[in-house]
């Protein structure tokens, strides 16, 4: 919603009849973008800026410490490593938008992986069926929690704390005596994170399709607005915005192609995040989620079904946790009693918050999970590459999380102060 600043702009000012040089056009579009951005900053909406700055700082620091950090190989591995926890974080964004927390996602992710492993490896159930049952296990667990949260009005973090223990116990029960189950190295689930589209066309194609879709949608929207005589972005601004996206997309595609090509895991991750983003920001359901985060009582008075939305949100969170858990299992091709450790939960929450989703509810997008996960995984990867002990990694990640929460809190306060003026 924050990106929807469609400021008044005359359709075609007469002075524009002379074609400006492209350089000038870009500079002017950038100027108007900066102005809009500063206005938002002044209103206390920092959005994703801090996370982008932190990410840049982390990359510059580690690149100067070790020149292999920004190598295609390391970045490609990084892009696969973020997927498992990132998918869990995407589900958590939904819960955070309500202003609630889901503490059970780590346990649910491990439960789903255990269900899959035991069904497939120990009992010979076909992989696709075991996969679906594993994901559904997460959906059911999430729905049960959501229903309890919605009906009993016990805060979600308490309900899901009980869930954390319950699902963890259930996972140990499902695994039974087998401490570790090794997955089929060439199976479907293992392929999730090991398969790469080695053909260069795949990565470039994805970049082209993504950028093309964004450009097409903004052009269609612009045309409709213009036809209805509504304020709309200038063509220049649209082009510059899409251009910025295109640079990032094609640069990433180029880097990925210099290693092994487009990873399947990254493709799935980006598609899931994009689809969920559209659902949150462009559908009736998503609007309800945001509204509940802005004020439960206000939403109720606007005839929203609070209980149904709450149940659905925790169901989404459980489902995403299960999918994330399967990707995590795929990465190490095994499921053990130690899967779904508490650090996984903390990383997922940290990722969403570092990426700019507010702990107070009502602000954030699924893309913040991607950005936050990039920050966290970059720190982890940089630490590994420079042989820094894990203790330091935790402390640095903790510091970044703390900074993110402080920024979140300050921006919220500044917004309220702004409103009182």
């Amino acid at each position: 919603m924050a990106d929807n600043d469609t400021r008044a702009e005359p359709a075609a000012p007469p002075s524009e009849a002379r074609r400006p040089r492209p350089g000038q056009a870009v500079a002017r579009a950038a100027e108007s973008w900066v102005a809009a951005f500063r206005r938002r900053l002044g209103a206390g909406e920092v959005g994703k800026l801090p996370a982008v700055l932190v990410l840049a700082a982390v990359w510059i620091t580690f690149q100067s410490l070790n020149e292999n950090f920004l190598s295609p190989r390391n970045l490609s591995n990084l892009s696969v490593d973020i997927v498992g926890t990132g998918l869990i974080a995407v589900g958590l964004v939904f819960v955070l938008l309500l202003g609630e927390l889901d503490l059970s996602v780590g346990s649910i992710s491990a439960l789903a992986a255990a269900v899959f492993a035991v069904l497939n490896v120990n009992n010979g159930v076909p992989e696709w069926l075991a996969l679906i049952i594993g994901v559904l296990a997460g959906t059911v667990a999430g729905t049960v929690q959501g229903f309890s949260f919605a009906r009993t009005r016990v805060p979600a973090f308490v309900v899901t704390l009980a869930g954390l223990l319950t699902w963890n116990g259930l996972m140990l029960y499902v695994l039974g005596t087998s401490a570790t189950v090794n997955l089929d190295e060439n199976g479907l689930v293992a392929k999730l994170t090991s398969h790469y589209f080695t053909n260069d066309a795949a990565a470039y194609g994805l970049a082209a399709v993504g950028v093309g879709l964004v450009f097409l949608m903004s052009c269609l929207d612009r045309r409709r607005r213009k036809a209805a005589d509504m304020p709309h972005r200038s063509l220049r601004e649209t082009a510059v915005r899409t251009g910025g996206l295109a640079v990032i997309a094609f640069a990433s595609a180029y880097l990925l192609n210099r290693f092994q090509g487009l990873p399947l895991a990254l493709l799935i991750f980006l598609v899931v995040v994009a689809v969920l983003d559209v659902i949150l920001r462009r559908t009736h359901y998503g609007r309800q989620v945001y509204a509940l985060g802005g004020g439960v009582e206000a939403a109720r008075r606007a005839s929203l079904s609070v209980a149904r939305v709450r149940t659905a949100v925790l169901a989404v969170s459980g489902t995403m946790a299960a999918i994330g858990g399967l990707f995590l299992a795929s990465r190490i091709t095994s499921v053990s009693q130690g899967s779904g450790s508490s650090i996984l939960l903390l990383n997922a929450i940290a990722a969403a918050v570092i990426g700019g989703t507010s702990l107070f509810g009502g602000r954030g997008t699924t893309w913040s999970a991607v950005l936050g996960m990039l920050v966290i995984q970059s720190i982890a990867s940089g630490m590994a590459i420079t042989d820094t002990p894990a203790a330091v990694q935790f402390m640095i990640t903790g510091g970044v999380l703390f900074a993110a929460v402080v920024i979140d809190s300050l921006s919220r306060r500044s917004q309220e102060a702004h409103g009182r003026a």
């Binding site: 919603m1 929807n4 600043d5 469609t6 209103a43 206390g44 909406e45 929207d221 409709r224 607005r225 209805a228 509504m230 559209v278 462009r282 559908t283 009736h284 609007r287 945001y290 509204a291 985060g293 802005g294 004020g295 009582e297 206000a298 939403a299 109720r300 008075r301 606007a302 005839s303 929203l304 509810g361 009502g362 602000r363 917004q415 309220e416 702004h418 409103g419 003026a421």
Partner: protein, 257 residues
């Protein structure tokens, strides 16, 4: 035979726990009529508004809509009947923008997705009729000033062409100019045949605008007045309790202890 009132309440009661907040309330709102709801702080005015709007449904009593008995158990029911409310606390979602708040719960869809453009167009249209000071439609409501928020809440209540409006202190947070805009609007609504229930502390406004006044005192009716004929002192003394128009029930003498 005159047409039945749009909305009528008979013997309506509401209790929170052991406290009876509203007792045996009678109220009628007719089309093209502004009814002022008056009473001291804590008389139950806002509770009555929440009761009619389905936020805090009645425990006992009958609610009639155009002569037929209806149930209002949740906000949805009230909206389906054609009752719109501006709450005293406005009940806006601060994190949503102006357009999002106006259409919350009744978004316009196009191919299954929200039609932001159409909603924005209608919002602009509506707000331009209401006020000279149209806020940025894409600004989050939390960043708007008090009177802009009031305007947004008022605009939201008008969306969907309701037949009865409940306005809980719609001018309390406004400066004089904006307050007059709102009062003109109430006048216009009456002319268009809407029923309006107006809560206000300003007896001057009530005198100028309302057709009838219903006074609440300690959760009970304490008189109905024709605003045009009843002297202000009579209404005032009814509000303060100097005149008790409804005999207070005393505890029954054979009540056990």
């Amino acid at each position: 035979m005159p047409a039945p009132p749009l909305l009528a309440l008979h013997g309506v009661c509401k209790r929170f726990g052991v406290v009876e907040v509203l007792t045996d309330i009678e109220l009628e709102i007719r089309a093209g009529q502004v009814v002022a709801l008056l009473g001291d702080t804590g008389a139950g005015k806002s509770t009555l508004v929440k009761l009619i709007s389905g936020v805090a449904p009645a425990d006992k009593g009958v609610i009639e809509w155009e002569g037929g008995t209806v149930q209002i158990r949740r906000p949805h029911d009230a909206r389906d009947l054609g009752i719109a409310t501006v709450y005293q606390d406005l009940a806006l979602c601060g994190n949503l923008d102006v357009v999002g708040n106006l259409f919350l719960g009744r978004e316009i869809r196009r191919f299954g997705f929200l039609d932001e453009m159409e909603m924005e167009r209608r919002t602009r249209h509506l707000l331009e009729r209401l006020t000279k000071d149209v806020p940025d439609l894409r600004a989050r409501v939390v960043s708007l000033s008090g009177d802009q928020r009031q305007t947004v809440a008022l605009a939201r209540s008008l969306l969907g062409d309701p037949r009865v409006l409940l306005l809980d202190e719609p001018t309390a947070a406004l400066g004089i100019d904006q307050a007059n805009e709102v009062l003109d609007l109430v006048d216009e609504l009456r002319d268009r045949g809407k029923g309006v229930l107006l809560i206000s502390h300003n007896l001057g406004d009530v005198k100028a605008l309302a057709d009838r006044a219903a006074v609440l005192r300690l959760g009970r009716n304490n008189g109905f007045f024709d605003v045009n004929t009843a002297p202000q002192e009579t209404i005032l003394s009814s509000i303060t309790g100097a005149t008790e128009n409804v005999p207070r029930r005393t505890a029954a003498p054979d009540a056990g202890w």
